[in-house]
Point group: C2
Chain length 213, copies 2
């Protein structure tokens, strides 16, 4: 398992997509699936599916395919989502409030367990999602108490770097950043960035050059 070999970043993204499709296949009653079929569902090449899986082991049966349920479990192990994760949200604006209520997170094992802000107006407030807004100063303490593994930044760009520093200081080493700022974090901290307007820029570029509008 997990031979020491460089694994493309895109492979990880695809594993997540395969996993989602396998759940749907299982729900639809399928027991086995071929790389060809899974590839088609995920809009990729069949060899790609096999190669992606090949980085981590041999999960298929030649002449037959992959067991829908088993493969799902294996991928979840690889992605480290065969367990729950506690998350802390920083930034209780429109987006933050919506994320706290977002059902996809708990459905996939990612639970918010605390919400933070630095605005005195907001601290102490009871949110309709059931959370009480905590002072960002309590981040370190709360992180330990509630075993927070992932920090989610939903502040405006202006506050994002300071929040990052706070998260790092609280020993959180995984950050999901919704702010439109390229935050910088030390090497022992991993960051993923979700930037809505970059995607919109890409979309309008494509409109212009691919569609010709």
């Amino acid at each position: 398992m997990h031979k020491k070999q460089k694994i493309p970043k895109a492979t990880i993204t695809r594993l997540s997509i395969y996993c989602r499709q396998l759940e749907l296949l299982e729900f639809d009653g399928y027991r086995m699936v071929s790389s060809e079929k899974l590839a088609w569902l995920c809009q990729v090449n069949a060899a790609q599916v096999r190669k992606d899986l090949g980085y981590f082991g041999e999960f298929g049966v030649r002449g037959v395919g992959y067991d829908v349920r088993d493969l799902q479990i294996e991928i979840k192990k690889i992605l480290a989502v065969n367990r729950g994760w506690n998350m802390g949200l920083v930034g209780i604006g429109n987006l933050g409030t919506a994320l706290l209520k977002h059902q996809n997170f708990p459905d996939r094992g990612f639970r918010f367990v605390a919400a933070f802000d630095s605005d005195p107006e907001k601290i102490g407030k009871n949110l309709s999602s059931g959370f009480i807004v905590r002072d960002i100063k309590e981040l370190k303490k709360t992180t330990q108490e509630l075993n927070i593994g992932i920090g989610v930044i939903a502040t405006p760009a202006s506050g994002a770097q300071e929040v990052t520093n706070n998260l790092v200081d609280a020993n959180i080493c995984a950050i999901l950043n919704f702010s439109p700022l390229q935050i910088s974090a030390p090497d022992n901290c991993v960051v993923e960035h979700i930037d809505f307007t970059i995607k919109l820029d890409v979309l309008t570029y494509k409109l212009k050059y691919e569609i010709g509008l």
Copy 2:
């Protein structure tokens, strides 16, 4: 300008990031910037910056660098964001409601002009963002009336493909998809996908294999 040559998708994403940094530089009073400095700010290689720009023209002055303001304008032209865009939102849940209020969109020229849902409970409702929820059946008519260029999907996975079909039927050929489903659209329609839980899966994978937790 725009020599016929294959342009990496990642180049477009980076152009958007450069543009954002150039705005910050301008705000801080800078007139010129070198590829080296811009690269450092965007956490990429300096040759990368020059090559990315090189696909579209010669925007710099040798020995000096790039004019912060002019380069910004050129990139905005390339990305087709030197104009405003009207967007229609479909799916008035927690996320949709937050997107309508999200300040980053209008700040960058992307304006929501209508909000749709198929739930009779929601249709007709006045949202605090000032929008009235329209029936999804009015999508085509409203798209023409309000000149909607971009459709944003904020429904659960279950409704996403049908909404996509509706958008395509309404002649919208750019879709930003927030649902966790791989939607399929015809070739004359461009799609960008923002999937929160894929990013979380990547994050936990990295935690496990890069940080060793």
